[in-house]
């Protein structure tokens, strides 16, 4: 019995020692899943002799909750445009000191990206990371491409097709507002009511997130609302396995364009290291490697040119989120009440 107790105490103290033994500096990242080449993270750790602690989340809102809760002192987070707006307006972000972004001496952010947010209040709080669109991923074997005329295919053909809707209030309602021809940031009650009806009346087969793309490929869904990167992910995977892609990506005339960003929350204790990290990721070679790994469209001119060149061959249809002449709209935060309303709309659509 006594021996047992001693063993227990020993085991416990070993665990406690392990817990206190690490003295390395730590950089806390709050990112989306599969949104950064982990080899680059490891390279950064080695170069700077630090430990990068990486937390993955599935939505902008979850990011907000984690930053607000303050249970972890995140140094860098990667929210989308409208969430930067919300976080900045709550005083949760530090302004970015662009003088410290020395990497930008060698590369330039694309004008198309800069123009998207240049006139917004939250512009000083972010450095762009990737950008993309939302669209419809469909199964080539079961969907007649002639039916792909616009957003209406998601809402009017749920009897013919098994349609998956994205389980994210902002994106689901946006697709309905586009379908009805309203402003994507509309806060007009009657317009939102119509969007709610459109979502409720459509008979979606399922609501999902990252699993939608898989179900389209498996043939359990005919089409689904997805992010551009969902499609490209699967496209690259198919190329890698040398199988023919049985799916396509359709972008209706008007759609949402989004920018995901680097931001530094006010909780950050390692701001110097955070700038080092952002500089590291903006470096041309690293950014190229990262964009090649992640699959979304890069925001750096040189990197974009490199990836769409013959060497990398990323010149796919719809790889460019904002081709000349296209109609694109950005989300705006608007208000908490509006977001609560969007969430109700999505939940009601699910319940019907």
């Amino acid at each position: 019995m006594k021996k047992g107790l001693i063993a227990v105490v020993l085991v416990l103290s070993v665990f406690l020692l392990v817990g206190c033994g690490e003295k390395e500096e730590k950089l806390y990242l709050l990112n989306w899943g599969e949104y950064m080449d982990q080899d680059l993270v490891i390279a950064f750790e080695e170069e700077y002799g630090v430990d990068v602690i990486y937390t993955e989340v599935g939505s902008n809102e979850e990011m907000e909750v984690l930053i607000k809760a303050g249970t972890t002192a995140y140094d860098i987070a990667f929210p989308s445009d409208y969430m930067v707006d919300k976080l900045a307006s709550q005083g949760l972000l530090n302004e970015i000191d662009y003088d410290r972004l020395t990497a930008l001496d060698d590369v330039a952010i694309m004008d198309e990206v800069l123009n998207l947010y240049a006139d917004k209040d939250y512009a000083p709080y972010l450095v762009p990371y990737f950008w993309g669109t939302i669209g419809i991923m469909y199964n080539l074997e079961t969907v007649d491409e002639a039916d792909l005329t616009g957003w209406e295919v998601l809402f009017e053909q749920t009897d013919t097709y098994r349609v998956g809707m994205y389980d994210s209030a902002r994106d689901a309602v946006a697709s309905a507002l586009f379908y009805l021809g309203y402003d994507v940031n509309s806060n007009v009650t009657s317009e939102l009511d119509e969007a709610a009806d459109a979502l409720s009346n459509a008979d979606f087969t399922m609501f999902g997130e990252d699993n939608l793309k898989t179900q389209v490929i498996q043939g359990n869904l005919d089409m689904a609302l997805v992010y551009s990167g969902d499609y490209f992910d699967e496209l690259y995977a198919a190329e890698e396995d040398e199988r023919e892609a049985n799916f396509g990506y359709f972008v209706p005339e008007t759609t949402n364009v989004w920018v995901d960003t680097f931001v530094i929350p006010t909780t950050s204790n390692q701001t110097d290291l955070a700038y080092d990290f952002i500089n590291f990721m903006l470096d041309e070679d690293n950014a190229t490697q990262n964009a090649d790994w992640v699959g979304y469209a890069p925001v750096i001119e040189e990197v974009y040119a490199m990836l769409t060149s013959d060497e990398y061959g990323y010149d796919y249809d719809n790889y460019n989120p904002y081709p000349e002449g296209a109609s694109r709209e950005m989300y705006e935060f608007v208000s908490d009440d509006r977001y609560a309303r969007l969430n109700d709309i999505l939940n009601n659509a699910k319940a019907n």
Binding site: E61, K68, T205, M206, N343, A351
Partner: protein, 271 residues
């Protein structure tokens, strides 16, 4: 033995800190506009109660109650005969069999839910056995999932009471001319009531508050109250509204628990 009372003191402090304080905090959040992220002055508001009258919340509460009661009933109908059969085995293997029955709870529940999810789609690994199900998004899918997850919790307490039961009572009943059915209804079932109650509680509670299971197996289409609470806390950051719904859920469960206390005053029924 009285001197041992002192041992409960640390536990009392621990429970007060970890149970009473947060419960009071949630109660406070539900009836005030206190901002949990920036604690400061606050005032009492009644908006929280409006959350409870929202059609969506009511639908979710109804779904929770309906599906969890059905799942509990199914678990009982399968679990009782199973426990009865295992408890009455004469072989020394019965302990092993009941343990084997409990073992699946050691493997990850989320993973088991995902396994069911893949089976419920028309194109699944079952196709290689010539089977194709199309259950995703139906109540049946949720009920199968809940039964699979919580059946061991129903069966174990039933097994423990049935195993300890005095068999001479059953024989006496039969000697006195009662049929098998009468013996079961008048002797076995009443004697195993405490096991039934704890089995019901152990199944009803997790199925009523589940949120990952309905989310996966309903294709995101059936909302249970757990999904609503998660939404409030994790998506819309409406902490105060979420606190109100949590309190309502706790009240429902406490009422349920009172029924149990009615059967067993010492509150040991749960195991």
């Amino acid at each position: 033995m009285r001197r041992l009372r002192i041992i409960t003191l640390p536990y009392l402090v621990w429970m007060v800190v970890l149970v009473l304080v947060p419960t009071l905090l949630i109660l406070l959040l539900s009836v005030t506009n206190l901002d949990i992220y920036n604690i400061g002055p606050f005032s009492f508001v009644t908006e929280g109660f409006e959350e409870l009258t929202k059609p969506l919340v009511i639908t979710a509460m109804k779904n929770s109650v309906r599906l969890s009661l059905l799942a509990t009933l199914i678990c009982f109908l399968i679990g009782y005969p199973t426990a009865y059969f295992l408890a009455n085995l004469k072989t020394s293997k019965k302990t092993m069999l009941i343990t084997l029955f409990i073992l699946p709870v050691w493997s990850n529940m989320l993973l088991r839910i995902i396994a069911w999810e893949t089976l419920f789609f028309p194109n699944s690994i079952l196709n290689m056995f010539g089977i194709s199900l199309n259950l995703i998004g139906t109540d049946v899918a949720i009920l199968i999932g809940m039964t699979s997850m919580y059946l061991p919790f129903m069966t174990l307490p039933l097994y423990s009471v049935l195993e300890k039961m005095d068999h001479s009572l059953i024989e006496a009943s039969k000697d006195l001319g009662a049929s098998n059915m009468q013996t079961f209804l008048k002797v076995t079932l009443p004697l195993s009531l405490s096991g039934v109650v704890s089995g019901v509680i152990m199944t009803l509670l997790p199925s009523m508050t589940a949120f990952a299971l309905p989310e996966r197996l309903s294709g995101g289409k059936t909302l249970l109250i757990g999904n609503i609470i998660e939404d409030y806390f994790m998506k819309t950051s409406n902490i105060n509204g979420g606190a109100m719904i949590s309190i309502a859920l706790m009240v429902v469960i406490i009422v349920l628990f009172m029924v149990v206390v009615h059967f067993d005053k010492e509150g040991e029924t749960l195991i």
